[in-house]
Amino acid sequence: MGILHRITGPVVEARDVAGAKMYDVVKVGNERLTGEIIKMVGNTSTIQVYEETNGIRPGEPVETTGEPLSVELGPGLLRSIYDGIQRPLDVMAAKGGAFITRGLSANSLDRDKKWEFVPVAKSGQAVKIGDVLGTVQETEIIVHKIMAPFDGKVKDIKAGKFTVEEQVCTITNAAGKEQKVIMMQRWFVRKSRPAAERFDPNIPLITGQRIVDVFFPIAKGGSVCIPGPFGSGKTVTQHQFAKWSDTQIVVYVGCGERGNEMTEVLTEFPHLEDPKTKKPLMDRTVLIANTSNMPVAAREASIYTAVTIAEYYRDMGYDVALMADSTSRWAEAMREIGGRLEEMPGEEGYPAYLARRLAEFYERAGRVRCLGTDETRTGSVTIIGAVSPPGGDINEPVSQNTLRVTKVFLALDASLAQRRHFPAFHWLRSYSLYTDTLDNWYIQNVSSDWVDLRKEAMALLQQEAELQEIVQLVGPDALPEKEQAVMVSTKMLREDLLQQSAFHEVDTYSSMKKQYLILRNILRFHHRAIAAVELGVQLKRIMELPIRERIARMKEVPEEKLSEVDFLGSEIDKAFDGLGAK
């Protein structure tokens, strides 16, 4: 048993901890607080403690568990809310009250709950790691697959109700040794779970958010970086992605963020319907909440806990979206701990390994062929990371290192947010490196003219920025009518396509079909307006067309009445025909 030697906040030093290894989980002090060894010099182990260390004294005992930090994986993860080291917050509240007090511990998975296990594998069957042994209906919409933890031959397998610790299957390995299988397994959080093969990203993750799906599509298995100053809408965007993206599983990690925001997710998600299954969103969600005032070392761990759970569901063959809000707080946790270790700091005080850690994390995203005999089972983890750059200036280490490894950059802009243009992504500064690889999918699944429409709309928005500069100098009236007409169209693009209210019951989500129709109609208006101006029709008359009002209301048309939006296309033609400009 080791002895505590020094305490200076969340980092403590212990001497002579028997059997200590790097990254082992240790129990610190008389209250047996959870910690992790992060540095070893001679007989001294430096430990980051996942709980408050006030009142702990030198001389108290320290003991290693001999294992690195791990998560429990098995039925019961969905609908849970965990802290950074996977302690269930609901159980902790029942045990310890409304405040998180020290030394509380609770099992991540409920040990008493019985799950109905339905065998899929037969006895006598040879299985490989990752093969589905059986299933459990975890929530109404998600079937949890129990996967073989090792190769071998199924000796026996039982149907019925079991807890996560009860044996459901026996597998005989090649050496003839019998190993029992339970529904729960552990995995070290800092190690990524293996997959058979990684695929290129060629299927989009449809988010229902028009600016993203139209201009900056996200691929399943891709990685996204959303930097923005406070108040620009990072959190609302993350919530929107969590609610509407077409993945089966959502893992949401609130890393060093606000307590009330997690409460919002907790109260809202059980009442929100998944648009496809009509079941509560919570039924497919795992929440990890390590708010800013909870211990900083657990905040560092929370990201790893989240991504490991995401990978576990990926291995079952699900598409998983991981929302990390915010990775800056995670980086700051590293900085804080690095500072306590008196490490030589890199840029802006962040540790020199910041870039490596960020890259390692985002590399855990991907669309893969899962392990196992079934070669058709694929799953994906898409990582959407929010970044909170100081002062909103992305010339800082966390944003820059994140941009180097992520493929989609959604630039939140404070001035757009201030004029309540939401989502406040700047259309000229954002980018997606997936556009080209996904074009094929859009052409096949949405419309053959999709790519042309998208490119034209983007070109118009770019032209608008150039025209804006001229307007700033000479005023809008000095522009030729044709260019003024362009400005009218781009205003429509901005207000009627890009702007989308997360709080409007219909507007909050747009199907691809609806997005296409809105885009098509605006561009049709644009073509007709340009043609009319060229024929000498006064712009004023075009501006007075009542059809503009209806274009503005397109986004409020519910999905089941989309034919109205479709029909609006021919009405635009009619309105212009009425102007006498064929």
Partner: protein
């Protein structure tokens, strides 16, 4: 209790005591000076044989030979009681008025503990402050933390007392109530003059008897500033969660708190972060701001209204920046508006209330509230942009619609933002004022408002 006379080093506010044993991290110490004077301090670093103590107050008069350090064996606590209402304390929680000592009903650790996110209840009761820019555009709800970002010389104190004076919860039946309402006020490094402004106003309106005041003034030791807000919040949590009160905590000025934090960090020779502030300032600030909220099954709430003055009016300064990332929005005061004599000079564009949607809408305020706020924002932002454009190209070069926006921006500032320090507007008055001003626009410009609301509320203000 352990007593030592082994002080070996004094540096800034830090005292190093050697030869000690088993001292708890964060433990409180009592230091007796050679003159007989007693000071308090807290353990920042403890190891076998050495403890580093941060002294509250100056280290003047401490020497290496005759100073006695007594370790009290417990972390910093405050004795709380409902008798604290109506009392004034100093920055360490000792009575500052002439009143008797407090007989504690309970002793609580001033650092508190994080609220379990699962145990939190969603804030949702609309607090009517009677100020249009807040109620209409950046609604405050019970359990929220909404700071005021100000600058030196701006009237943030006037705004804070106006909110404290007018704040009430309007229930759906339309009746307002002030029952079980308390104010906990923490002065952190402000001047005597400012402190007496608050005291006078609390006294005049009768709020003092429902208030607990903690005063650390500008000439009090800066290290105490680390303690003062935590005393206030511990008291607030006690009143809210154990005495079922709705507590409004006003902390002013958080900038002084951060300066004190930096002072201690540099005395400890820590690696500095941005602009010399410690790298853990975000975490540290969060342990203050996050102590606001509602808890399931408890009637009381803690709402936080902290004031900070942005050095150089710079919203990207680390203090304002980190605060904005933790709090649920911000109210920003603008110097331009102040110069134009607009009271309160709330610069609405950078303002935000993240919890607004929880407190507004049908059955809470009014169904048209969200759309109205968005529309006013959009119109004012457009108007402001056009102001700079018209400065370059002249007003004549603008289109008729643009001229309307320009006019709107002026009217909005003069009528909606400006209201004086004693006008208490109901939310209906605020919303109707909004409709009245929007009547100058053609309907096609009102894209943020639903058609049915325009029909229902907007028609009566139209001339034609």
């Amino acid at each position: 209790m352990k007593e030592y006379k082994t002080v070996t080093k004094i540096a800034g506010p830090l005292v190093f005591v050697e030869g000690v044993n088993d001292i708890g991290y964060g433990e409180i110490v009592e230091i007796q000076l050679p003159s007989g004077e007693r000071k308090k301090g807290q353990v920042l670093d403890t190891q076998k044989g050495l403890a580093v103590v941060q002294v509250f107050g100056t280290t003047a008069g401490i020497n290496l030979e005759d100073t006695t350090v007594k370790f009290l064996g417990e972390t910093m606590q405050i004795g709380v009681s409902s008798d604290m209402l109506g009392r004034v304390f100093n920055g360490l929680g000792e009575p500052r008025d002439k009143g008797p000592a407090i007989i504690p009903e309970k002793r609580l650790d001033i650092n508190g503990a994080p609220i379990n996110p699962y145990a939190r209840a969603e804030p949702r009761d609309f607090i009517q402050t009677g100020i249009s820019t807040i109620d209409g555009l950046n609604t405050l709800v019970r359990g929220q933390k909404l700071p005021i970002f100000s600058g030196s010389g701006l009237p943030h104190n006037q705004l804070a007392v106006q909110i404290a004076r007018q704040a009430k919860v309007v229930s759906s039946t339309g009746k307002g109530g002030k029952d079980q309402f308390a104010v906990v006020f923490a002065a952190v490094g402000i001047t005597h003059e400012e402190a007496s402004f608050f005291m006078r106003d609390f006294e005049k309106t009768g709020a003092l008897e429902r208030a607990v005041l903690f005063l650390n003034l500008a000439d009090d030791p800066s290290v105490e500033r680390i303690i003062t807000p935590r005393l206030a919040l511990t008291t607030a949590e006690y009143l809210a969660y154990e005495k079922n009160m709705h507590v409004l905590v006003i902390i002013t000025d958080m900038t002084n708190y951060c300066e004190a934090l930096r002072e201690i960090a540099s005395a400890r020779e820590e690696v500095p972060g941005r602009r010399g502030y410690p790298g853990y300032m975000y975490t540290d600030l969060s342990t203050i701001y996050e102590r606001a909220g509602r808890i399931k099954g408890k009637d009381g709430t803690v709402t936080q209204l902290s004031i900070l003055t942005m050095p150089g009016d710079d919203i990207t300064h680390p203090i304002a920046d980190l605060t904005g990332y933790i709090t649920e929005g911000q109210i920003v005061l603008g110097r331009d508006l102040h110069r134009k004599n607009i009271v309160p000079p709330v610069d609405v564009l950078p303002c935000l209330s993240r919890l607004m949607n929880l407190g507004i809408g049908k059955d809470r305020t009014r169904e048209d509230h969200r759309g109205m706020a968005d529309q006013l924002y959009a119109a004012y932002a457009t108007g402001r942009d056009l102001r700079s454009l018209s400065a370059v190209v002249g007003e004549e070069a603008l289109s008729a619609t643009d001229k309307t926006y320009l006019k709107f921006a002026d009217v909005f500032e003069k009528r909606f933002i400006a209201q004086g320090t004693h006008e208490d507007r109901t939310i209906e008055q605020t919303l109707e004022l909004g409709w009245e001003m929007l009547a100058m626009f053609p309907e096609s410009e009102l894209k943020r408002l639903k058609k049915e609301f325009i029909e229902k509320y907007g028609k009566k203000y139209r001339k034609n």
